[in-house]
Subunit: 367 residues, 2 copies
């Protein structure tokens, strides 16, 4: 959602392509210009040519994680852990509580409810397609899903399990001892927090949403987007949203200062949360945040790291003023949100895992 106008990560050729689109000035719903090739296959419309330079299709299958091969046993273990509330001190909060796969991989809360009803400090980002983000958390403090998975389990305001307790809890459940041994064969003591993180990472990497209308468009189905959605895509390119929201996740690939042209106000940008600065301690990172993915954005309200904006139209308007220095018209907002609606992919179909049962000696929930 946040664009840093001065940081152009998009190759200049892409920016040029966007400018060209702008100078042609045509209705994005109508293919423009003659075919550029003489083959029998009709040339893709210029908007598609530009889009293909900016964005990548979500694949049907997960990418391989370096040093963490996704065996079926490890994915199955990760799925159990993802849904197991016994990883929380209370035995009442699981990964799926805040990253609900029925709700776009989020909890649709401003900030999440954690241990003893404490509130988190930032909005829970979606787990869907998160494997493709350049880093995890709003401030990018975790390099990848594996590192991220270690956070909430032991965070006192989230699942609140003391770090040493996580493997104790899991070792106390006989079925997990077996499941870890199968997922990490040959390890003398496979039940570790580090292995739990690896298993969670391979499961989460499988949570992809391919086949969005926009992906079908990128693949060459010109009819996958309506004329209005194509207008939105053109606007998205021409207005410069693509400076930050690009790549496979249409976001998720960089950090950007929130409030380049105008402050969005203290409700959206509280002075106490300096974002990326808290990780790097570099002054220029103050109030920078990871640019969130726009994939499945209509499912993942409320918006921004504060979760204070519930209406996608309002979020788009804020972006125009704060990041682009351009007050968007209603028609532009209409088109942009129509385009964003085309970013909803097929949601992952997940069978609820039957969890290994506790026994009399299993550590019990904190009172």
């Amino acid at each position: 959602m946040k664009c840093l106008a001065l940081t152009i990560l998009v190759a200049s050729s892409l920016a040029l392509a966007a400018c060209e689109r702008q100078t042609t000035g045509s209705d994005a719903g109508t293919p423009v210009g003659p075919p550029a090739t003489t083959t029998a296959t009709p040339a893709p419309e210029p908007l598609l040519v530009t889009a293909r330079q900016l964005f990548t299709v979500i694949p049907d299958t997960p990418p391989e994680l370096p040093g963490n091969a996704a065996t079926p046993e490890k994915v199955a273990l990760g799925k159990m852990l993802y849904f197991d509330p016994r990883l929380a001190a209370s035995h009442a909060i699981s990964c799926s509580s805040c990253h609900n796969l029925g709700l776009g991989g989020t909890d649709n809360e401003e900030t999440s409810i954690g241990h003893r009803w404490q509130r988190g400090t930032r909005n829970a980002p979606t787990v869907l397609n998160a494997v493709f983000n350049t880093a995890q958390f709003w401030d990018g403090r975790a390099a990848d899903l594996e590192a991220q998975a270690g956070g909430p389990m032991v965070n006192p305001v989230e699942m609140a399990s003391p770090e040493v307790h996580v493997p104790e809890q899991l070792r106390g459940i006989p079925g997990y001892r077996d499941a870890f041994a199968r997922a990490f064969p040959g390890e003398a003591d496979a039940v570790t927090l580090a292995n739990a993180q690896k298993a969670l990472a391979v499961f989460e990497a499988s949570l992809l949403t391919p086949n969005a209308p926009f992906d079908r468009y990128l693949k060459g189905d010109a009819s996958a987007l309506s004329a209005h959605e194509k207008t939105g895509l053109s606007t998205f390119i021409d207005k410069g949203c693509i400076r930050c929201h690009n790549g496979i996740n249409i976001g998720g690939g960089m950090y950007a200062k929130f409030g380049v042209f105008a402050s969005p106000g203290a409700a959206l940008l509280p002075p106490g949360d300096k974002g990326r600065f808290t990780v790097t301690k570099v002054d220029s990172d103050a109030y920078s945040f990871k640019v969130p993915t726009l994939r499945n954005i209509t499912l993942t309200a409320p918006y921004f790291h504060t979760g204070t904006v519930w209406d996608l139209r309002q979020a788009v308007a804020v972006m125009g003023d704060a990041q682009l220095g351009s007050t968007l018209t209603d028609a532009e907002i209409d088109a942009l949100t129509a385009f964003m609606g085309s970013l909803t992919g097929t949601q992952p179909v997940v069978t609820l895992p039957i969890l290994p049962p506790s026994v009399a000696t299993t550590p019990r929930p904190a009172p």
Copy 2:
């Protein structure tokens, strides 16, 4: 778990059958006596003959609910509602929070954590096979699943949605308006709390656990129970556990006073909770509770309406002292718990529903 020694719901012929088993005095693991018939099929062992008089097999398919036909559309709606945390004022607690289908249909908590981390007053009973209980809740205050489903949504210490808010919330989610219309065709305003309860009931009625070793035994597979489990079954019959724990759910069919022969103590039977009396106001119902099912009992710790006993062996010992007036030996407890382990059936395989998304006008969670 509770037996009322003076209330014999089992026909006296069954009690006689149990006595006969006792007088034969054989190891229950060994079939006793000659075949009673002259046909080619060997006669079932006497233990099985007795068991068939006391217990019924869990079917593979749900029973029909009177006045509430289970159409696919209604079951699908009920499944969405079951997993939807937006039915709670906080948007953070769903039916599945306390009746987790990965954890035997319970939350494995002494008492459940509800709105603003309030604790419920009694242990959450399993939803699995609950359709076969004579009534719902520990005090039987709901006649059936449909009536039960109306409780937790509006209970201030559970999901805490004001009663009028439930349909408001659901009407505010466009996908639910469609789903209710499909599930309740022909109704002018299908989005009602009453219809939500009906849909939840048909989904919950589908949550059966057939094919437990004990069910395979009842169906005639004499090898489905080990010798030790058969000893446990004999003990279960002979000691009188079957006076209360009988029928299809091996419990769930009657109320029983807790502490017939000896008080289990204030931790297990706090004086402030008079159980069934709170519903009927009949003095003789004081400290009576619905006899819980023993199906999947090894998955549903902790035990009793207080949830204060985590070890099934201890729970069995309490039952001996409090309900049977008989201090059970270690060997008897071993055998009884082995038998109870044979009551775990195939857990329902449920695909997590993708929930209809909220929109900008959808009512938001209570702050």
